[in-house]
């Protein structure tokens, strides 16, 4: 990569997949997929179960190595970068992480500094400052001395996001950050993600709930069978036809009474008024 290309990449997408194919064992999950993550916005990957959305996120984060194609981070092939350098640019929160029993919130969040530390320099005042800010930003500073396993699901997820923040990256990849959370806590966590985005970070996440994805993202990537079906602003992407094509879901798309995004109203087999059928 030349310097010019890198400069160009800074204005364009920071993270992109080019012609990537990924699989487990002999099974191919994603085949020749292209995607570019626009900087400074929240991109959400949606799609039916098993469509490869988590696989795509894990490939973008270097957790999985593509069998073909490349993932490009700031103009460089991500497999050629050192794991540590990737961790300084890109923070990753996997699905349903588990902390050792009894570990305190402060200790967990402090672990996020790992990519900036070395054998000799294991803790500095810089680290302390960044961790303090990460705890405050996610609203868990009061819980700093509590064990993580004693917290509620929503608080716990905030703590994990706090750890990813302590990594000090402006690119965050979150794999289903609202799994196992009730709706109120899911909204709480997504509001936090919104705050992080407002502060200038690029966020890529996988979400299950379509209405939450529509509400909280500026860029939707809709997947089916390991390929991208549509990509763009929720207002342009979410239509009844797309939902049928991607999910096999019958739904009506209406204006959100409280927001400026479309709202998906799924239609089941029963419980609909006669005029709807």
């Amino acid at each position: 990569m030349t310097v010019d290309e890198r400069g160009g990449a800074a204005r364009g997408p920071r993270l992109a997949a080019r012609e990537v194919s990924v699989g487990y064992g002999g099974r191919t999950v994603i085949d020749g997929l292209d995607v570019a993550i626009p900087p400074g916005v929240i991109t959400t990957i949606i799609g039916p179960n098993g469509c490869g959305k988590s696989t795509l996120l894990r490939t973008l984060s270097r957790l999985l190595k593509p069998s073909a194609g490349t993932v490009v981070l700031d103009g460089a092939d991500i497999t050629g970068l050192k794991a540590r350098d990737v961790a300084r640019k890109l923070g990753l929160l996997p699905q349903a992480p588990v902390a050792p029993e009894g570990l305190t919130v402060a200790d967990l969040v402090a672990r996020g500094r790992h990519p900036h530390q070395s054998w000799l320099r294991q803790w500095s005042s810089d680290d302390a400052d960044v961790v303090r800010r990460a705890l405050e930003m996610t609203g868990v500073a009061d819980l700093a001395d509590r064990p993580v396993d004693a917290l509620s699901g929503g608080q716990r997820q905030r703590v994990w996001i706090s750890m990813t923040l302590a990594q000090g990256t402006d690119l965050l990849l979150l794999d289903e950050p609202t799994t196992y959370l009730d709706l109120a806590h899911a909204i709480d966590v997504l509001d936090l993600v919104d705050d992080l985005h407002e502060a200038g970070r690029t966020v890529v996440m996988v979400l299950h709930d379509l209405n939450l994805a529509t509400r909280y993202s500026d860029n939707l990537v809709v997947m089916r069978d390991g390929a991208i079906l549509a990509q763009g602003h929720p207002r342009d992407v979410i239509t009844a036809e797309l939902l049928r094509e991607a999910f096999g879901l019958r739904a009506e798309v209406i204006d959100d009474p409280v927001g400026d995004r479309p709202l998906i109203v799924p239609i089941g087999r029963a419980h609909t008024l006669p005029r709807q059928v």
Binding site: A83, P100, L103, A110, W119
Partner: protein, 347 residues
Amino acid sequence: MAPGVRLGRVSFVWRPWPVLVTLLLAAAAFLVFCLSISFGDFTIALPRVIATITGRGERVDEFVIMDLRLPRALAGLVAGIALGLSGAITQSLARNPLASPDVLGITTGAGAVAVFLVTVSGGTTAAIMSSVGLSAAALAGGLGTGVLVYVLAWRRGIDGMRLVLIGISVSAVMQAITNWLLVTADIRDVARAQAWLVGSLADRTWNEVWVATCCGLALLAVVAAASFQFKPMHFGDEIAAGLGVRHGRVRAVLLLCAVLLAGVAVSAAGPVPFVALVAPQAAMRLARRPTPPLVASGLVGALLLNGSDVLARTALPVALPVGVVTAAIGGPFLVYLLVRANLRKAA
């Protein structure tokens, strides 16, 4: 948040309690080490023991202490530290307190190969028992079994519970092979093999102890070097990878170290049971840390092994091999861990 300490270019987290506990454990391990030398056919007072091992002793004590008793205590120290450290690594990497080298079949594998060597070699047993050959065979057996368990448990990564279950199965097979060898072998060989299998520090010679000490120190250096990258491994592969750790490589290196450390311990003291299981868990509780602390685990291991040996030789009417005492302590502790795990699941 824990405060940081800076000394020139070096900085680390300062936690007073774990540091204090580690220092106390080091003092206790040294005391028990000296007590082990002190007790014997006749008792030598502690000040004279310390003077002699630091090279300021009197001639009369030198032969008994340096040639006869020090190898035994040193074997206990090395094997204890190796077992504690080995257990701390395997329990942390598997994220499961049951995943110790004994449970994973490493010590039983080492035992099976050693018994094979003893029983098929017939009349030359005594010569082999005192030679380095048996240690090397035990080490190879432990390593082979460790690799076998790892390969069988591998399924797109290592799951702690799967590793433990495979380990228990392989361990049972190794135990069966050992039993078969013992049943079919010459009775005099069986007696010797049986004594070795229990785990004992009796009649150690410098030949065996030197090899174990040097191997132990080399492995200690590797573990120390990898200790920084080891920290995020407590959170599982994905978090570790996200934090920039090459988790596959770090895990392979550390597991290899753990298996070799267990092998070193077996070569120095025989397959002493339960120390590797108990030491890291005890160290964790004493230091009040959520994960087994490496240094403290090694020290508890040394304390436990030499302590059990002293106890076996002094408090009991007949001098028992150390393995009997560690099993008596370790068995109930294993039950405690299992009961506690069940209670947590039920809660």
